[in-house]
Subunit: 184 residues, 2 copies
DNA sequence: TCCTATAGTTAGATTATCTAATTACATTGA
DNA sequence: TCAATGTAATTAGATAATCTAACTATAGGA
């Protein structure tokens, strides 16, 4: 009997792929009567899709040794490069995270010379944060791939589908940002 | 002068909201020439939307002291409750994570009696994992809220928009699952 | 000048991952 | 039959992204 090729990752036996339908059956059984099942189904797929998109982007960015949160912050700094004052606090506010979390990100980025922290003369408690030349260079290296990954997500939609889709997405995203109080 | 109400969270000064357009301008400047800008725009909004949806669901589940990953695993176990053998390896395979990561999740869930690990008689190396009665109860408590949150994500779309949207989402999700080699 | 608010950081925790090493059991083949 | 190899699960130890609470330094009002 021939030797099976060494399994590098996981086991032989697998769980069968169930697909979407058992989730829908479960939903029918367990949803409250005032929940619209079609909407819930749609929302569930969006949630799954969101997960998968995140994964795709993560994989892509891994090649540049950076994560989405960090790129996000670098982009934020890029787009506010003309501002006189960009503080950890205002970044935290915009990103919807705590100041201490921002500190952690900044430490990481500063260690790699991607950002610069400068004391703010007009108020000794504050620090101005800006993207460095190196940071800008890195962003410019990443972005072409990043945009192309974004585009690839919806490649297979035709023009018409894209048009409708876009309208819907913008609407949904706006309402979610409002509900969450976040947003760019 | 009247005292300002204590700021509980962050600072006074804020970064202006830039909206989408500076991102699009940046995209025009930095995208490779063979990237379709409309598609990239669409993909970018999907990425943002995905983030926001994740956040919504997380907030919702926090009330039950559980995270999406763990609910995911409990649902997986629920839907495979009839299977003779569900191992950490097969779970890892299905969730697309390492076995050791599954072990961590299982330890957490077992500590709270939400799952049970049983030695598998036919092969002493394996362990059968199943959801416990308590686990099922918890899932049944969570799901009504969960479905209603899912539904609320797309509430404001009208019937027609939902129909088109659904078609597109299913298509996109299928193709992403294929590209990632994941899927339910 | 003293009190209190604010900005930033540090300390210490949790969650979700990972890789590498370890333990125990199973299988194969000389 | 038993030694070598493979597989399943866990453990050990790391990293990333977040949190809360405590701390330091500065600012500014009464």
């Amino acid at each position: 009997m021939k030797r099976k090729p060494a399994k590098e990752y996981t086991t032989e036996q697998q769980l069968p792929r169930l697909g979407t339908s058992p989730y829908l059956k479960l939903m029918e059984r367990t949803a409250s009567s005032d929940t619209n099942l079609n909407s819930a189904h749609l929302g569930l797929i969006m949630l799954w899709l969101g997960d998968n998109i995140l994964d795709m982007v993560d994989i892509d960015l891994a090649a540049f040794d950076i994560t989405e949160s960090k790129l996000d912050l670098l982009l934020l700094l890029s787009l506010h490069a003309d501002q006189e004052l960009v503080t950890p606090s205002s970044i935290a506010d915009r990103l919807g995270i705590r100041r201490s979390s921002v500190t952690s990100l900044l430490i990481w980025l500063e260690k790699r010379n991607l950002i610069v922290r400068e004391p703010y003369a007009k108020d000794g408690r504050m620090t101005h944060v800006r993207i460095s030349a190196e940071g800008s260079t890195l962003v410019n290296q990443i972005l072409p791939t990043f945009w192309s990954t974004c585009a690839s997500l919806v490649d297979e939609l035709d023009k018409e589908e894209q048009a409708v889709f876009q309208k819907v997405l913008v609407k949904l995203n706006a309402s979610l940002e409002k509900r969450l109080g976040s947003g760019r």
